[in-house]
Subunit: 136 residues, 4 copies
């Protein structure tokens, strides 16, 4: 099965004076893909950013292979690889046709809106992520 | 008397593939200058963004004259021109040495954090803005 | 006939600590719509950003009516209203269902990539814009 | 000796609807510190972004510990740890007083502006980085 992905068009806002996509912005593209992946599991805004909890990024490892340029049509992948306690890990990548531009591991943590401390991922979300990890 | 201004250095994050500062980012530079101007009047974060009120931008008229480029040292001016009820207007400009790069009029409104509706600017702030407008 | 528009989803990258879309980012949304509008006329990247010319924004008048929030699905309109010499003007607006969030007039100028000075808009593009203005 | 650092004030542009600094923006803060660090070694824009070469980020590992919020005064550290061939690595961190908010390893590569392929870091820059690594 193909992993979940979203299309991203590169606009001038995404580029820098090097004539390429500003490398920081790949993290924005990846977050759009994670957000849509969660929505595809049934967890829209109310599930991931509400009065009780929100998700914060705890750790990113990203490797840049080739640069995207203005007007490129990219495909941005989000595949969960781990869910445990308060955190989950998503493998992400950015592609232009068959070419890999960047890949990353992004670790997210569920935190309380009030205390900003970690809280267990809600059971329904944990089960949905587990299921997705196991090829469901 | 010289108007209030702050220095801004142009970093790669501010540029676009045209090799110039992305025009949208001048509004960020201008907001930094407004924020520091308010601080200079004695209104730091607690005064302008608290549980009761915050300020939102209601209207911007901006004219771009010449482009800034990577590594430029800019000077960004903030001069209040009007304060009335829930709103105030700031004249802003961006300079590179003696050269004008952009100028703008920015209208800000004080709104309730709860209702998002306009509320009168607190008297101490209104007085400080009035005083600044009158050359104080 | 309905004006040209594109959908824009609000992601966390677009928001600020006020809990709303950072007002500066509406200009990014509007540029996405202008870019896609030009593409719909047959002018993709090669037409608007090439070795000879590019377009820069010269003037923006924007009015903010209501704030967008995280996860909103917006519609962003781009309608040309004037084309003359080196410049054209686009009326733009941002909507959430039937609600107007912001509207703007954006003036763009065609400039030489070499000299950064204004050059006449290429005839084919001028004609396409004129035609669009006249309801074509 | 204290490592090289720059102060960064958090403005509304840096925050997100979670009420904290948008995690992606720490990478911008870190790049400002790297740029100023290179300048402190004598390599301003002409040295790091010219007709022949520029530097691109190849790899980032970043860990987020605690969130910054609006108006925080941060200190952002840049310390080179390796220079070899076309690349160098910088250890970076973001602090609020004595508190660590994030740390990272950022690998940069020198590339040709023409071919976008790696080229050896110019000798003078390599020597300056080596010297800095060795506590010079």
């Amino acid at each position: 099965m193909n992993p979940f992905s979203v299309p991203v068009r590169v606009y001038i806002e995404d580029t820098d004076a090097g004539g390429i996509v500003y490398y920081v912005n790949y993290l924005k593209f990846m977050e759009r893909a994670r957000t849509e992946f969660m929505r595809s599991l049934g967890f829209g805004k109310d599930g991931i950013f509400n009065d009780g909890i929100m998700f914060v990024v705890r750790d990113v490892k990203i490797r840049y292979v080739t640069s995207a340029v203005l007007d490129d049509e990219l495909r941005v992948v989000a595949e969960p690889t781990l869910v445990k306690g308060a955190r989950f890990v998503v493998r992400q990548s950015v592609h232009r046709n068959d070419e890999l531009l960047a890949d990353a591991l992004v670790e997210c943590a569920c935190v309380s809106r009030i205390s900003a401390t970690p809280v267990r991922i809600p059971a329904a979300m944990r089960d949905a992520l587990s299921n997705a990890i196991n090829g469901g």
